[in-house]
């Protein structure tokens, strides 16, 4: 998927565990894990806002666009 979720990078920078983030944001651990692993199909703005607030960062720090490269042979 072209959208990469760099949540674990931001969590490491802020030295925050998944459990702690889950408690502060108010999302279940399983949902947060789905987001971290890049398996989520969508994220609500309200959720993104809470994550950015807790991790004190910008949405661009968590989400990255990496276009899929196709090899031409």
């Amino acid at each position: 998927m072209p959208i990469i979720v760099n949540l674990d990078v931001m969590m490491a920078k802020r030295k925050m565990s998944l459990n702690a983030l889950s408690e502060q944001v108010g999302i279940t651990l399983s949902n947060l894990s789905i987001l971290k692993q890049g398996k989520a199909k969508a994220i609500r703005f309200s959720t993104l806002e809470l994550i950015c607030k807790v991790l004190d960062c910008q949405p661009g720090d968590i989400l990255e666009y990496r276009p899929e490269t196709t090899s031409k042979h």
Binding site: I27, L32, I34, L35, A40, K41, A42, I43, T47
Partner: protein, 206 residues
């Protein structure tokens, strides 16, 4: 009263379908045992077929082929009674026809049981439910077709073996309403497929 989840209408329907399922299984067992018992009992059997006729023009029926037992017509009830020989071939054929028709009923009950079980767990849009609803639709769709083929075959059998001296016709018609119900169920299965996709997307939206 809530419709999905524990202690809901779905859980009541689940209980009903479970009881119905076991009752149907027992019924099949009893009928099969009775069919086998008939062979040993050597009792005379009578096959009943509904007929429509004009009583003013009715004459006696005569068997076309030698050795075919003569049937008689109950004018009041409009039913033709045909005595049949109690042997392995006859009992076997009747049992097979019964099992073919009843297997459709068993299939529908079994699928409904599974569907209501998923409803009771608050998981209506499971992938397996799509297939189950479609199977129920196909079973419902095939019943009028099988019934029509059976009645048409019976009509040809009776016409071939008896001389009809009156305007006598076997009563059978095609059940369009059941056919339509089957088609509607197949469409509902597709709606459930869409529901499943939306449900999956919703679950993966954080």
């Amino acid at each position: 009263m809530k419709k999905l989840g524990n202690s809901s209408l779905s859980s009541i329907l689940l209980l009903i379908t479970r009881i119905t399922w076991w009752a149907e299984c027992i019924f099949v067992g009893i009928v099969s045992a009775l069919a086998i018992a008939l062979l040993f009992a050597k009792k005379d059997l009578s096959f009943d077929a509904p007929v429509s006729f004009s009583p003013v023009l009715f004459r006696a029926l005569t068997a076309k082929q030698a050795g075919t037992p003569q049937g008689h017509l109950n004018i009041t009830r409009g039913i033709f009674y045909l005595p049949i020989e109690c042997n392995w071939k006859t009992i076997g054929t009747m049992l097979v026809i019964f099992l073919i028709f009843f297997s459709l009923i068993l299939l529908v009950t079994f699928q409904l049981k599974k569907i209501f079980a998923s409803f009771s767990r608050n998981e209506p849009f499971m992938e397996s439910n799509i297939l189950r609803i479609r199977n129920i639709g196909l079973a419902v769709l095939s019943y009028p077709l099988l019934r029509f083929l059976f009645d048409a075959g019976l009509y040809r059998y009776l016409r071939a073996r008896f001389t009809w001296t009156a305007d006598l016709r076997l009563t059978y018609s095609f059940d369009f309403s059941t056919l339509l119900a089957g088609l509607i169920l197949i469409v509902i299965a597709e709606i459930f497929r869409l529901g499943s996709e939306l449900d999956n997307e919703q679950k993966l939206t954080i």
